[in-house]
Amino acid sequence: MSKRILVIEDEPALLRAIGEALTMDGFQAMTAVDAEQGMALLRDARPNLILLDLILPGKNGFEVLKELKASPEYSKIPVIILSNLGDEEEIQQGLKLGAANFLIKADYDLAGIVGIVKKYLK
């Protein structure tokens, strides 16, 4: 059974590209454009890992991360922040809230991101 990766990303082009890359590598990509849609998908089928953008319409990524880590049901799912914000303060905040990693999108190609996903799923 292929592993499920939930991607919460509000930019349609980026969401599509990440979804494609994960699918091409044998994962089941669950894609959501905002926190509300992401949480609905989460409730339907528990993902093995979450890729989470920070700037989202409505609730932002930090708020989503806080909720996930406060939930007994979802707190153990690794969350990797995937953002084009990259100030030291944001990185530290994400890691402090329990993100497994913080990747700046522009610095990584898709193969690199998928490689890091696999690392956290081992």
């Binding site: 980026l14 590209a17 890359a21 932002n60 999108k105 610095d107 190609d109």
Partner: protein, 249 residues
């Protein structure tokens, strides 16, 4: 209609509303610029897998050119962001004990393919060793070494040589990176650490640089209370050196 997006507020002290708005502007601008650049990067990558359709030779070449140009744009945005942080005095240092030879070796390793492609031989030497550990922001010092080494590689001819010397200088450690490349004309040497400045003789060889590498390297070293200097002779080569104190003062 574009939805407004709530930007998580950067946790930065600002003495005035104007300063705070400037910081948010810089953060937002770099984010907004990086987003379409990321899309270009990733779709070029997907196309090059050819899993979405076979590409002919020209198409492959053109997409690789798109990738190259895009990477330059991404690097420029990162450099501009770094420069703005330095200029605003917002540079954050995540200080930890570090072994400088290890940091330098990591930087050399990450540039292996460039060195190999140009047939450049690199020698690393430690003088007056062993070197005590230094107390630095490792990522930033790697950045310093990366910027200086990348310049050395770019301006060293094929089959050339680069020497990296680390020296225990009692109160500090010195890292000197020397190449036998084109060197810097004497009348331009006083401008070499300025933002966007690139010597006229190197523009012919490597037109793609941002001109920010040495400015950023100098700023990051000085943030650690170190110094940067260089010696150069046109046609013979350049040595760029930086020092870092052994203990946090």
């Amino acid at each position: 209609m574009t939805k407004s997006k709530d930007l998580p507020k950067p946790k930065i002290e600002a003495s005035s509303t104007e300063e705070r708005l400037k910081t948010d502007f810089i953060t937002l601008s770099s984010h907004q610029l990086r987003t379409p650049l990321s899309a270009i990067k990733w779709f070029a990558e997907i196309l090059l897998t050819q899993r979405k359709g076979k590409l002919n030779k020209n198409q492959l070449e053109y997409i690789r050119e798109i990738q190259r140009s895009n990477e330059r744009a991404i690097a420029l945005v990162s450099d501009l962001l770094q420069v703005s942080r330095v200029s605003e005095g917002k540079l954050h240092l995540d200080l930890a004990e570090a072994d400088l030879p290890t940091l330098i070796e990591e930087v050399i390793d990450s540039n292996r393919s460039f060195l190999t492609n140009k047939g450049i031989v690199l020698h690393l030497e430690i003088l007056n060793g062993p070197l005590p550990n230094i107390f630095v922001d490792k990522a930033k010092i790697r950045r310093v070494a990366q910027n200086i080494l990348l310049n050395a590689i770019k301006y060293t001819p094929k089959g050339g040589q680069i020497n990296v010397i680390l020296k225990n200088n009692s109160d500090d450690v010195i890292c000197a990176i020397s190449d036998n490349g084109v060197g810097i004309p004497a009348d331009q040497q006083n401008k070499i650490f300025e933002r966007f400045y690139r010597a006229t003789n190197v523009l012919r060889i490597e037109p793609d640089g941002t001109g920010l590498g040495l400015f950023i390297a100098k700023s990051l070293v000085e943030a650690h209370r170190g110094k940067v200097w260089f010696e150069s002779e046109e046609g013979k080569g350049t040595t760029v050196s930086f020092s870092l104190p052994f203990r946090k003062k």
